[in-house]
């Protein structure tokens, strides 16, 4: 396995120009979409099958009751423990040698289980092809040694592309810098490989709580409780089965109900 690649999105540098969204659409040949009124300058509510980078414009009031913007270019997190990948029954979703998560279009059969299993609502069903799409981490660029299109385009270096370990070190340094400058609310999201989902390979520096950005504070792998859920189902099967055995049993069945 090659060294893990990552993207670090530092929202404190984002100016909301949406160049990343456009670059993504150009490189991946994704159609433009009709803008939606979201109550803000944000032009669409969420990712779609055609929007893989998505710039959020969050309006807030600061301490002096002045309006302020929180901007964030969101993307698939390429989770180290990825709900979509675990869910996929066909093996269409796979981990690349760079540690990122990709979907093989030939193999996807359109069951949409991955859509339901992403804690961030990233994967989206394409009604045209009957298959699902999401950010590929520009696998066709990165495998040729190029940066992702969004990182290449970003004019403020809010999006950085590189090796995960190097970027994580950089993120920590930037966080310390901001804290020293008094930006106490700055946090890193997904940088910690011991944290939720084993760390995200697209991680972020945020200027408020994750929930404010529409991100779960503690994302968990949806498949974690499977053994428990299966066990409880087996328990119910045994109970209902025993009840039926008592009911149908020839001798001693009597009329004593089925409670076992």
């Amino acid at each position: 396995m090659a060294r893990t690649l990552a993207m670090f999105t530092d929202t404190s540098l984002c100016i909301g120009c949406r160049a990343c969204e456009v670059a993504c659409k150009q490189w991946n040949q994704l159609e433009a979409e009709t803008p939606h009124w979201t109550g803000s300058y944000q032009t669409s509510p969420h990712f779609t099958d055609k929007t893989w980078r998505h710039v959020k414009f969050i309006e807030k009031k600061d301490e002096r009751n002045e309006p302020k913007w929180l901007l964030m270019s969101d993307v698939c997190k390429h989770c180290n423990q990825a709900g979509c990948l675990e869910a996929c029954p066909t093996g269409a979703i796979y981990r690349t040698p760079f540690g990122t998560v990709d979907i093989s279009q030939d193999i996807c059969n359109g069951c949409r289980y991955c859509v339901s299993a992403c804690p961030f609502g990233v994967v989206a069903f394409n009604h045209g092809t009957g298959r699902v799409n999401k950010c590929t981490f520009c696998v066709d660029r990165t495998s040729e040694g190029m940066k992702t299109a969004c990182a290449k385009t970003c004019p403020t270096d809010s999006i950085e592309f590189g090796y995960r370990d190097e970027l994580a070190a950089k993120a920590k340094k930037r966080l310390a810098e901001l804290h020293a400058k008094g930006v106490k609310e700055a946090i890193l999201y997904g940088e910690d490989e011991n944290g939720p989902l084993g760390g995200l390979n697209a991680f972020f520096l945020l200027l408020d709580k994750p929930e404010v950005y529409g991100l779960p504070a503690e994302p968990t792998l949806p498949q974690k409780p499977i053994v428990k859920d299966a066990g409880l189902s087996a328990g119910a099967a045994i109970l209902v089965g025993l009840g039926a055995i008592v009911a149908f049993r020839e001798r001693g069945g009597g009329d004593r109900g089925g409670e076992e």
């Binding site: 859509v115 609502g121 299966a230």
Partner: protein
């Protein structure tokens, strides 16, 4: 912010019919193996229900994908601990078992019946699986409601058992089958399954706490409370306490047929409400 998988009527019908197929089959297997001579009639009806329903299930799954050849991608690999993958395989394997049992029900020779009982002993495990796994499939997603519903698989299993028995009772009634004391056995097993189902439903809603709101309040409150809880569970449970007079098997069957229709409506509404409210 999570995204709903846009599962609609195909999946709702699949979950519902899969539950019946699994439930009817394993109840048939129990009647076949633990019951008496008369109960073989019950078993036969159960196998005859399971086989066509599981065929329809396969068709529904393929229709949901939109292209039949794509279903093959589902069964080209098997991912263990993956409900979607195991489920696709289970439909196939269970289909084979229910076909075998339906076929063996056509004859009357003792050897055939003995073989049928043995086949059913193995096949019933897949029946249990088919009835329950759809709940586990939902509870292992990131969707609100579903993700916290630890008892969804158990609840679907109990519902599969009661709807399976209800469809056996209903078909037997319309066939005019002479089930004799098997009626009361069917009723007893179904009553017990419904008690378990109701208990699990209460536990599930309590465990969900406020995240159950989209189900128990708002536009799904009527199908949930009125349809599933009252019509689908409480009324049939009440009917099961109606004591028929001696020798009134036919009336007993009639009461049970009415209860069965209600149970089936409840079983459908359970899947409908859970799938629709979970994707709001």
């Amino acid at each position: 912010m999570v995204r709903a998988p846009e599962w609609g009527m195909y999946i709702i019908w699949y979950f519902f019919l899969g539950g019946i197929a699994g439930g009817a089959y394993f109840m048939a297997a129990i009647a076949d193996n633990f019951g008496g001579r008369r109960d073989r009639e019950v078993a036969k009806v159960g196998y005859f229900i399971a086989f066509p329903l599981v065929m329809i299930c396969g068709v529904l799954l393929i229709l949901d994908l939109g292209m039949s050849s794509r279903f093959l991608n589902m069964v080209k690999i098997l991912k263990f601990w993956n409900p979607m993958s195991l489920g696709a395989w289970a439909v196939g394997v269970f289909g084979a078992f229910s076909f075998a049992c339906a076929l063996l029900s056509l004859g009357v020779s003792e050897e055939r019946l003995a073989l049928r009982r043995n086949v059913a002993k193995v096949g019933s495990w897949f029946g249990f699986f088919l009835a329950a796994y759809t709940g586990v499939l939902l509870s292992n997603t990131a969707q609100p409601i579903w993700r916290d519903a630890r008892l969804m698989g158990a609840l679907f299993l109990a519902s599969g058992a009661s709807t399976g028995l209800a469809s056996i009772a209903l078909i037997s009634y319309f066939k005019g089958a002479n089930l004799g004391e098997s009626w009361s056995k069917l009723k007893k097993a179904d009553t017990f399954a419904m008690v378990v189902e109701l208990a699990l439903l209460v536990a599930l809603v309590l465990m969900l706490g406020p995240s159950a709101n989209p189900i128990i309040k708002g536009s799904f409150a009527l199908p949930f409370w009125g349809g599933l809880v009252v019509l689908g569970l409480v009324v049939p449970l009440g009917l099961s306490f109606v004591k028929p007079g001696d020798g009134k098997e036919r009336t007993a069957g009639g009461t049970m047929a009415i209860a069965s229709v209600l149970i089936l409506i409840g079983g459908f509404l359970l899947r409908y409400v859970v799938i629709m409210a979970g994707q709001l």
